[in-house]
């Protein structure tokens, strides 16, 4: 038996509720980790379940269990099922067809609301921006803790410990896990399964048999600290020793494509222009055989939102707080991965962590 817990929505959700109302939704069902975290005001635990419902009337309901059951539970508990409140419910993520079948029978019409949720999770208030800068700065502290000490033979646990010490010393206590890696389409070679690290840093590119760093293999690391509930986000890649031709070309391709992405994030332009600019640049170069991918996420609410959908119509607005993450993979050699926190201003994307958006060579 799935039980749902309901409470009053906090004032932090007022703006989202207004947007829901304006868009004609009676409620919003959130199933993505980022969406649920935002609605709950904290990272969802096991008891918080797989579905959260926010109603325009101001209630937040969560339920555990398998996805269809949890969704039906929150819809009933929220008074939406049966068409009581109009029956039009937005969804922040793609849902299985069986969910649609069940909710339709209950008199509820599910409609995509990914853009609405993305906009909410990206649009920072002016008062939030100093905290965003401080959290990104904390990610930069973690970057330094890694980059200054990298050496061949280093154990990734030592690396993780360095990050932990440095970030704690700088005032950070906790981190967040990026929940979207397992679905990362830019990892066709299965390297995501070899990640190591902690809630503050995720490392890839080490020897999975020894947990140690090797010469010539790119080491990539993502920093994801939290500072008073605000997510910091940055990623960098370094190679120990001089990279060979293919790696250097991939590094140049990733750097150029990332620069194109950032340049395309202009107020008034669709955010998807950034994605398109990235792919144009990444695949328009003579960089040898490589796979490339990028994603743009919103960073409000203590973590990453679901990635911007490919067909999103969300436009860039000043004040948006975004995470951009890019990757170019060299078959059999590893990958170059970069990420940055950016705040959109009238003049474009302003990097916050300011870690190098290129392949760093250490020799």
């Amino acid at each position: 038996m799935t039980t749902a817990a309901t409470r009053q929505a906090g004032t932090g959700l007022d703006r989202l509720r207004e947007q829901l109302d304006k868009a004609g939704f009676a409620a919003l069902v959130l199933t993505s980790p980022g969406g649920r975290r935002y609605a709950l005001g904290r990272a969802p635990g096991l008891a918080d379940g797989t579905a959260v419902l926010l109603t325009t009337e101001g209630t937040v309901t969560s339920a555990a269990g398998d996805l269809p059951t949890a969704i039906m539970a929150v819809l009933r508990a929220g008074g939406v099922a049966g068409g009581v409140a109009g029956g039009v419910v937005g969804a922040d993520a793609d849902l299985p067809w069986e969910v649609f079948g069940q909710v339709s029978e209950a008199g509820v019409r599910l409609r995509p609301a990914a853009d609405l949720v993305f906009t909410e999770l990206a649009s920072g208030e002016p008062g939030e921006l100093p905290a965003v800068a401080a959290a990104a700065d904390l990610a930069a502290v973690g970057y330094t803790a890694v980059m200054d000490h990298l050496h061949v033979g280093m154990d990734v646990r030592e690396l993780s410990g360095n990050v932990d010490r440095s970030i704690r010393r700088a005032g950070g206590l906790l981190g967040w896990y990026d929940p979207y890696d397992p679905y990362d389409p830019c990892d066709p070679y299965g390297t995501t399964g070899r990640a190591a690290g902690s809630d503050l840093v995720t490392v890839r590119g080490h020897d999975p048999g020894t947990a140690r760093l090797t010469a010539g293999t790119p080491v990539r690391f993502v920093l994801h600290p939290l500072l008073e509930g605000v997510a910091g986000y940055a990623a960098a890649t370094a190679v120990l020793g001089e990279p060979d031709g293919p790696l250097r070309a991939a590094g140049a391709a990733c750097a150029a494509a990332t620069a194109s992405l950032l340049a395309a994030l202009r107020p008034g332009a669709p955010l998807r222009d950034g994605r398109e600019a990235f792919y144009r640049e990444a695949f328009g170069r003579e960089a040898g055989e490589h796979a490339a991918a990028c994603r743009i996420v919103a960073l409000r609410g203590g973590g990453a939102s679901p990635p911007l959908p490919r067909d999103s119509a969300v436009t860039a607005e000043p004040g948006m707080v975004l995470g951009v993450r890019t990757e170019v993979t060299v078959p059999g050699r590893g990958a170059i991965e970069l990420a940055e926190t950016v705040v959109l201003t009238d003049s474009g994307a302003e990097p916050q962590a300011r870690t190098p958006l290129r392949l760093v060579e250490l020799h």
């Binding site: 330094t144 980059m147 200054d148 000490h149 990298l150 050496h151 061949v152 280093m154 700088a170 370094a238 120990l240 020793g241 300011r354 190098p356 760093v360 060579e361 250490l362 020799h363």
Partner: protein, 269 residues
């Protein structure tokens, strides 16, 4: 001007860093930024410090540059140190130009490689450092956090030793063999974080401090200066800046030095 300076000012011992006279007691700026860094550097100058230590990594070079532009002290009386982070291999000249621009300087007195890049000696960067020095953009070049082996590797590749090696150094990490290896190579040993990692409540330090009527912090600074180890100290507070500077007036006895040397975990091992 000197008449208004506190104890210690004007009597800071110096070392020869690659032909450039380097004060052995300097003002470190990490982790201050912005106005706080500018104000602190100006206060440090007014107290009597002449060496200011920054780094690309600290993200405060522009703030330090504001202080350099504001002070009435001539540039020639000041000693400006900054450091290139290890992730700038292949971009050395660009990094130097950015540092000079941020600091508003035509030259640096000392430019250091902040960490060995990837644990390697960093020969590529070292060649660029030598070139920058030979072109007059920097007066002296050095390294930070380098082992003897890495320093020798730079020398083997280029025939040039660093003028300075800035490492974490204090009574707890005192290594006479390392210090002697630096001295034999003509490398000035410089201590960053001289108080971190030192148990300032240790009975030996407490006793020496009591005998001299000073604090354990002062004693640790004086101990470094006795060994001709350069120290950078940091504080945003004027009174603490003055107190640190006054450590130059402490003369430790051979017994004091021996006792403090004995605190070293390295020597014990």
């Amino acid at each position: 001007m000197d008449t208004s300076l506190p104890p210690g000012a004007g009597r800071v011992p110096t070392a020869d860093a690659g032909g450039r006279t380097m004060p052995l007691l300097g003002f470190g700026t990490h982790p201050m930024r912005g106005d706080q860094a500018t104000e602190a550097v100006l206060t440090a100058f007014s107290v009597g410090y002449r060496l200011v230590d920054t780094a690309t990594r600290y993200r405060n070079e522009a703030a330090v540059g504001t202080a350099l532009a504001t002070t009435s002290l001539p540039r020639s009386e000041l000693f400006v140190t900054t450091k290139m982070p290890p992730d700038q291999v292949g971009r050395e000249r660009l990094t130097l130009e950015e540092s000079l621009a941020a600091l508003g300087c035509d030259y640096l007195d000392l430019w250091l490689i902040h960490w060995p890049p990837g644990g390697y000696p960093g020969v590529t960067s070292w060649r660029e450092f030598i070139r920058a020095r030979d072109e007059g953009l920097v007066r002296a070049i050095g390294v930070s956090n380098y082992s003897v082996e890495l320093i020798d590797a730079l020398h083997e590749s280029t025939g040039e030793y660093p003028a300075v090696n800035q490492v974490r150094w204090g009574p707890g990490s005192h290594d006479p063999d390392f210090a002697e290896a630096m001295r034999r190579r003509g490398v000035v040993l410089s201590a960053h974080s001289p108080l971190r990692g030192t148990d300032l409540d240790h009975p030996v330090l407490a006793e020496v401090a009591r005998r001299h009527g000073r604090s354990a912090r002062d004693v640790v600074l004086a101990w470094n200066l006795h060994h001709k180890v350069a120290v950078t100290v940091k504080s945003a507070h004027r009174d603490r800046m003055e107190r640190n500077l006054s450590a130059v007036d402490i003369t430790l006895t051979p017994e004091d030095i021996g006792a403090i040397n004995g605190l070293s975990g390295v020597a014990a091992a």
